[in-house]
């Protein structure tokens, strides 16, 4: 499966990339990293990911709007929201938009890995 990482923080993009690439999640390969929702939509058109990790608070286009755009491109896309907005109402709102999982920041490597595996299996 093909992974796109969307987050405005370089620290978080690199961290997720390392967890996936060095943690050895089988069948998941990184195809792109985006700094905001608009960039994510452009990259998704070109790279056609199956799985996306999605921040919510970002410049230009935020995560909620980006989820809508990405699901219009591919309704079967597996989206894992990774956000500091870790209250229940935000998680529910993201899931209603079509995300399939939610991980609050700060997160441990194991938490992220388990959530990614769950989202991949939800397909």
């Amino acid at each position: 499966m093909r992974l796109l990482i969307v987050d405005d923080s370089n620290m978080i993009r690199s961290r997720i990339s390392r967890v996936v690439q060095q943690g050895g999640i089988a069948d998941l390969s990184l195809v792109g990293m985006a700094r905001n929702g608009a960039e994510a939509v452009r990259i998704a058109r070109a790279s056609q990911p199956d799985v996306v990790t999605m921040d919510l608070t970002m410049p230009e286009m935020d995560g909620v709007e980006c989820i809508e755009h990405l699901l219009r491109l591919n309704p079967k896309l597996n989206i894992l929201v990774v956000s500091a907005l870790s209250d229940k109402s935000t998680a529910i709102a993201a899931l209603k938009k079509g995300a399939r999982g939610f991980v609050g920041k700060p997160f441990s490597d194991d938490e992220l890995k388990m959530a990614l595996l769950d989202v991949m299996e939800a397909r």
Partner: protein, 154 residues
Amino acid sequence: MADNSLHEAELKLFVESVRNYFKTTTHQEPQITSAYLATGDVEGHDFNGVVTFSGSYKGHVTVSMPPQLLRELLLLQKENDLSEGNLLDAVGEIANTLAGNARQGLGAGLDISVPAKLRGHAGLRARVRKHPCVITLRWNHQPALVVVDMERRA
């Protein structure tokens, strides 16, 4: 009386968020060295992340850290790029995380901005409250502080 209780609740909320950030990210809790209401400009550190609140609250939270602390945090996450840009990115992300986590205690009506990242240790000036809340801490022998300058909208 109500105003005083708000100060205490905010302080507890952010103190717990700071503890949780370090505990989850580094497996090492910080030592909270003080929590108080500032009476003047607060002397900060060199790298600062500022998140602005709107909606049910207005104001800002500022995370201020020296470069050595940020380098150690990045190295623990196996990040080798320790450039100034990446240190600023890290302090902005920490401010974003603390502010985002605050919604659990302050309610979904709180909106938070993307973080602004500033270099320079000039005094941090209160913009909303006369006496902003200041939390000072020490992690792995390095000092840091969080300034919570916010108030509930009427």
